[in-house]
């Protein structure tokens, strides 16, 4: 027997659970309680609100965003001030919450706690910045390519293929090598330069499928213009997969920044970055693990929170699971 059970029962569940059917005027049935307007975004939000995983991720990210915006709230220690005489590789004092010596000191006598706090901004900035950039570039190209098709699609698709063919990290390293002063925006630009392709492909595919829906044909039959078709009908219905891919990719870009900084090709002193600290810490991996473990743990938590958010958002937006 071929495997048909899945789709069949899905259909059955759809059939037995009609969408909040309410009374036609000829049937005097009481108004249902679920009668208030509920958009699909509203449904997704309803879904998200009922997932503990979403709230875990949301709380973690909120704290991280506050740290990134106001690091001074969390530590008064100067992350760049080293005191080699007193603090050279001092071990952490785990009881000293929020103190400069909480996580110990690094090889230059700087407070690791302060550096972890101050490094948050760079990571979050890079992650969010690259994601915004690729969503704009990739989304726009995917939209054009999917909606107009024909030669526009051919050209954009071939360009996407070429960029897709370039190895992401290697390519970014080559690009970064061209810059001597590697500020945050340079790293964002370099990562976005090669990172937009998957968003473009996802957007193109969902635009093509949204474009074929009957309601788009209906709008065309009414005489709707291109901008109305795109912004009223196609884009809102093609956005969900792009949002999901973007959220999940965000964590990846934070890792990528750390990797580049670790290799000495990303952010560089005096910018504070977890990647730089991990790089420094890795030299002490045998004797002073604490130098490595705190920036690495922070990086892990941040990436984990973003990926968890992406996962829950995908579950909430994926129409197949409803």
């Amino acid at each position: 027997m071929p495997d048909v059970t899945k789709s069949k029962t899905d259909a059955a569940v759809d059939a037995i659970a009609p969408p909040a059917a309410d009374a036609a005027p000829e049937a005097p049935v009481a108004k249902p309680s679920t009668g208030k307007p509920r958009s699909l975004w509203g449904d997704a939000w309803f879904d998200l609100r009922h997932r503990p995983m979403f709230w875990t991720a949301a709380v973690m990210l909120f704290v991280l965003l506050v740290i990134a915006a106001f690091p001074g709230l969390f530590t008064s220690a100067d992350p760049r001030a080293g005191d080699l005489t007193n603090h050279y590789l001092t071990k952490p004092e785990l009881g000293h919450f929020f103190q400069a010596d909480w996580f110990g000191y690094d090889i230059q006598g700087r407070s690791i706690y302060a550096r972890v706090i101050h490094g948050t901004r760079a990571s979050i900035l890079v992650g969010v910045g690259v994601t915004l950039a690729i969503t704009l570039i990739g989304g726009l190209l995917g939209l054009l390519s999917g909606y107009f098709g024909g030669w526009i699609d051919s050209i954009i698709s071939r360009i996407t293929d070429i960029f897709f063919g370039l190895p992401f990290l290697l390519g970014t390293m080559v690009v970064l090598n061209a810059f001597t002063e590697r500020k945050v925006y340079v790293v964002i630009a370099a990562l976005a330069f090669l990172g937009w392709t998957s968003i473009c492909r996802v957007m193109r595919a969902s635009v093509i499928s949204a474009k074929q829906a009957d309601y788009v044909t209906a709008a065309r039959a009414l005489g709707a213009g291109t901008s109305r078709m795109i912004f009223r009908h196609v884009l809102p219905n093609a956005l969900a997969p792009t949002i999901v891919v973007a959220t999940i990719a965000l964590g990846g870009f934070i890792s990528a920044e750390a990797t580049l900084s670790y290799l000495g090709l990303g952010l560089a002193d005096p910018t504070i970055s977890w990647g730089i600290d991990i790089s420094a810490g890795s030299e002490e991996i045998r004797n002073n693990l604490h130098v490595l473990i705190f920036p690495a743990g922070m990086l892990f938590l941040t990436v984990f929170a973003f990926i968890m958010l992406g996962d829950t958002v995908r579950d909430a937006l994926d129409p197949k699971l409803r």
């Binding site: 071929p2 069949k8 029962t9 059955a12 569940v13 059939a15 659970a17 009609p18 049937a27």
Partner: protein
């Protein structure tokens, strides 16, 4: 007043092959789905039985529970979200819901086979038709590849696929819709089952092809003396092939009857409304009779008779008491064999 639901669940002596045991019997089956918005009660106490060589048509609209019942029989319900809180599904007197996995597996697929509406998505697109047909023989009977292929050609001949030997190595997409449905039928027939469940087997097909496929199914049923459960929403298809009919609404059987009688004298307002609401090919009527309102929301099935908000005959009792499926009688009191109606006012419905 005899309540059929009770007679139907009378104890069966000596489960086995005795002649009185029907091939398949469903007793007081309940199925529910746990969804985000609540519990959808898809099947609420269904009883029916099929004997060898008999065709039972289960008629109903979407959400009536007709397909879910079949899926429960075949064991292809997704559980969760599906759940069978009570009921029995007896194959030759043995309850399939309580038997072991291996035992059940031997019945499903081999003794009871199913045909689906959408033949294209039911066939694996990357395997040849011959391979998929032969798979049944290789897996269940342990035949060699060569023997299985010969058997596959034989089957394709049986379902009247022209040039079977030449087409055995074709892929599903190379066949037309009607031919693919024939392949599905061939696959269901492969292990010579006792019972076939056909879920809307011709709904996706064109009218002229529909007739061919229905004829084939009826012919094969006679040849192998199989039981057939035909699940459909089409009153026309039912009239052409069924022996007896069970009409479902909101997860219950609301009327059962031999095919000839139900069209002449329906005993449930829902059946009556359905019959009056379909336009006829051979007469041009005035305005169509339309059943008012909407099919019920299974999350909130109306109290009492589920049909009461749409029923022209509804009284207070219909809103408070669930009508049992009772024996339908002639005006004089003579029982009409095989006829039952779950309506408080079946007398008024059938006898005017």
């Amino acid at each position: 007043m005899t309540i059929i639901e009770e007679t139907a669940s009378a104890p069966l002596s000596g489960a086995g092959d005795s002649d009185s045991t029907p091939l398949l019997e469903v007793r007081d089956l309940h199925v529910e789905f746990h969804t985000r918005d609540g519990v959808a009660k898809a099947v609420n106490g269904v009883n029916y039985s099929v004997g060898a060589g008999e065709t039972l048509a289960v008629l109903g609209e979407s959400g009536s529970g007709k397909s879910v019942t079949a899926q429960a029989i075949m064991g292809i319900l997704d559980m969760p979200p599906g759940k069978i809180p009570q009921g029995e599904i007896l194959y030759r007197g043995q309850d399939m819901l309580t038997m072991g996995y291996e035992e059940r597996r031997k019945i499903r697929g081999r003794k009871i086979a199913m045909i689906f509406q959408d033949a294209l998505s039911s066939l694996n697109p990357v395997l040849t038709v011959g391979y998929q047909l032969g798979e049944m023989y290789r897996v269940h009977l342990g035949l060699s590849k060569k023997e299985a292929k010969a058997k596959a050609i034989e089957l394709m001949d049986k379902v009247k696929i022209p040039a079977a030997a030449a087409r055995v190595n074709d892929y599903p997409h190379q066949f037309s819709g009607g031919m693919r449905q024939r392949i599905m039928i061939a696959m269901a027939l492969a292990l010579e089952p006792d019972l076939i469940i056909a879920d809307e087997p011709t709904t996706a097909l064109d009218v002229t092809v529909q007739a061919q496929v229905m004829d084939l199914l009826a012919e094969l049923q006679r040849e192998f003396n199989m039981g057939l459960i035909l699940i459909t929403h089409d009153l026309g298809v039912v009239a052409d092939v069924a022996d007896k009919i069970a009409v479902m609404y909101a997860g219950r059987i609301v009327e059962t009857a031999p095919v000839h009688e139900i069209y002449a004298r329906p005993a449930h307002p829902y059946t009556k409304g359905l019959l009056e609401s379909i336009p006829r090919l051979d007469q041009k009527g005035q305005e169509l009779y339309a059943i008012k309102g909407l099919p019920p929301n299974l999350l909130k099935i109306p109290s009492g008779c589920a049909f009461n908000p749409r029923c022209p005959m509804a009284q207070d009792i219909c809103r408070s008491e669930i009508p049992p499926l009772v024996q339908v009688t002639e005006q004089g009191g003579a029982e009409l064999p095989g006829r039952g109606s779950a309506c408080h006012f079946w007398k008024e419905t059938i006898h005017g």
